[in-house]
């Protein structure tokens, strides 16, 4: 059974159809890439899944429950986490605190416990702190945990965003252009990291990426969007020689 299912999803902004009739299905341990030229509707598709936009028509099903029309914070609770194309770390918080924010949704004690520092609060707060430190260790970020997150190098900021998303304990992780702005060495590291995350946390990953080396290197399956329509789907090698995809990226072949 598939984990995430998009059925005929359409997103219109006034007269503009950003995504049209998109149907996608993702299994529970897939690593899938979504590619397409600029403005093809990839991020819009992400925003439909995460509830930032409500699809004009169609339905999003995750883990058997209907997500259409739910708020972003409710969707996170069902097990979908994301990163952003333009990094959106909390600017005034440290690396540690950035990750700590993700634990808000799973706290068992009420705000009054925190305010009065009751026993339940102290116990849970301690366990949250330990979990965060463990998580940061996995990503080798424990050395900078008290630095302001936005003061880190770009590649590290991306990693903090991934840790922060993982801290919500997702079943599906959406990565929006994780390799954007990275140098070749960082990209190689990122590919390793994504594979490792998938194995260690046993989750499905859907990523948007422009860097073909990254996409072709790690994704098991790829689908291609162009002008809001899914034009191809298949393994990396299938996609590479799909004439429609080549057309979308390079333009039509001219008769000579």
């Amino acid at each position: 059974m598939s984990l995430l299912e998009l059925q005929d999803c359409t997103m219109k902004f006034g007269g503009l159809t950003a995504v049209s009739g998109l149907s996608v299905s993702i299994g529970k341990s897939d690593l899938i890439g979504m590619i397409g030229p600029n403005g093809a509707g990839k991020t819009t598709a992400f925003n439909m899944i995460t509830g930032v936009y409500c699809p004009t028509s169609g339905q999003v099903t995750f883990n058997g429950s209907n997500l259409t029309g739910k708020k972003p914070y409710d969707i996170v609770a069902t097990g979908i986490a994301r990163t952003f194309q333009n990094i959106r770390l909390f600017t005034s918080l440290t690396v540690f605190e950035n990750v700590q924010v993700s634990f808000n949704k799973s706290l068992n004690h009420g705000l009054s416990h925190s305010v009065l520092q009751l026993k339940k609060f102290r116990e849970e707060e301690d366990s949250v702190r330990r979990t965060i430190v463990d998580l940061l260790k996995i990503f080798k970020l424990d050395g900078v945990k008290d630095e302001l997150a936005t003061s880190l190098p770009y590649g590290d900021q991306r990693r903090v965003e991934i840790v922060r998303a993982l801290a919500t304990k997702p079943k599906l992780l959406l990565l929006d252009e994780p390799a954007a702005g990275m140098n070749p060495t960082e990209k190689v590291e990122l590919m390793k990291l994504i594979k490792e995350v998938k194995e260690r946390f046993d989750i499905a990953i859907l990523l948007i990426e422009h860097d073909m080396k990254v996409v072709m290197g790690i994704c098991e399956r790829i689908f291609v969007l162009d002008y809001g329509i899914k034009i191809a789907e298949g393994t990396p090698s299938e996609i590479q020689c799909n004439p429609k995809v080549i057309e979308a990226y390079l333009g039509e072949q001219v008769e000579t």
Partner: protein, 314 residues
């Protein structure tokens, strides 16, 4: 940063100290005592507004409105039940009256907060300003609380002990809150609402909670104020008062508890300390604000103000 048990002891020590010091309040010059009490009340107001403006990033200009609700509610209770200063019964009645005043303000906070917190930045500021004025005008037209003439004969129950106990409670609670995981949620809402939602935070709920807690303490501060001056009019709680509190938060540094407390102390004492230069007093006071804002736009201690403007510009 103090650890949890350290904070708890500091809190208990502060309560005990305010009780001990309250025994000597008859000894000092009533003029100085008045300034000290105002310092305490302004500290409560500024710290509670800091929770809304500084930590949660929702620019509210309606704090005086909540203060007036607390002031009038608490006063009506003590007047109706004829609390008298010094009587044992008033030691129970006064805190109850303060609490009810705070709750009424908090309920108003919910009613005002849910619709208006959909707005952001300057829109929210104008809306809260308007709602604060509505509260003032309504009170002005309620005859049973004195209307524009004001409410007289409020028993003088506030003293050093009550005011500074509440100061200790406010600081203790807000600093506990901010240093907890929930607290990081409030800061996340301020920094980036979209990202906060994507991390599972119900941003509207967090904003309303901050608004309600802030309004509650403003109400309590109002009650303390009314029972100190024993005569209140709606005009005392106009938007000038709201702005006075906002200035304390901004000068202290948005989102910085220590800075805001210091600003509340300095900005309460300053106009009094400048009485020596008579007519130039307010000119100097304003000039000082201008100089502080030019040299430290982020406030004396904070880093929040710059960020507020950056967010507006973005």
């Amino acid at each position: 940063m103090m650890n949890a048990s350290g904070k708890k002891w500091a809190f208990i020590a502060a309560i005990v100290l305010s009780f001990v010091l309250a025994q000597f309040q008859g000894e000092i010059n009533p003029y100085f005592l008045q300034i000290i009490i105002y310092v305490g009340i302004n500290t409560i107001l500024a710290s509670s507004l800091n929770l809304i403006n500084g930590f949660t990033g929702q620019f509210s200009l309606g704090h005086a409105g909540f203060m007036s609700l607390g002031a009038y509610t608490a006063s009506m209770i003590t007047i109706t039940f004829q609390a008298t200063p010094g009587a044992t019964s008033s030691y129970v009645m006064f805190p109850v009256a303060l609490l009810v005043g705070g709750i009424v303000a908090a309920v108003a906070g919910v009613l005002v907060g849910i619709p208006s917190l959909r707005l952001k930045g300057d829109y929210l500021a104008i809306t809260t300003l308007g709602l604060g004025e509505i509260i003032r005008v309504i009170i002005q037209n309620l005859d049973f609380v004195g209307g524009a003439r004001g409410l007289v004969g409020i028993p003088k129950l506030s003293d050093f002990f009550w005011v500074f106990s509440v100061v200790a409670i406010v600081i203790f609670m807000i600093s506990n809150m901010i240093h907890s995981t929930y607290g990081k949620g409030f800061l996340a809402v301020r920094d980036d609402e979209v990202a906060a939602q994507a991390m599972g935070i119900n941003t509207t709920k967090y904003k309303v909670i901050a608004f309600v807690i802030g309004a509650f303490f403003a109400g309590v501060a109002g009650g303390l104020y009314a029972h100190f001056v024993s005569y209140i009019t709606p005009s005392q709680f106009g938007f000038i008062k709201s702005i006075e509190i906002v200035v304390m938060v901004i000068v202290g540094g948005m989102g910085n508890t220590v800075g805001v407390i210091l600003a509340a102390i300095v900005l309460t004492i300053l106009p009094e300390a400048l009485r020596g230069v008579a007519e130039y007093r307010m000119v100097l006071y304003s000039l000082m604000l201008v100089v502080i804002m030019i040299s430290r736009p982020q406030g004396l201690f904070g880093t929040g103000f710059k960020r507020f403007f950056k967010k507006q510009a973005a």
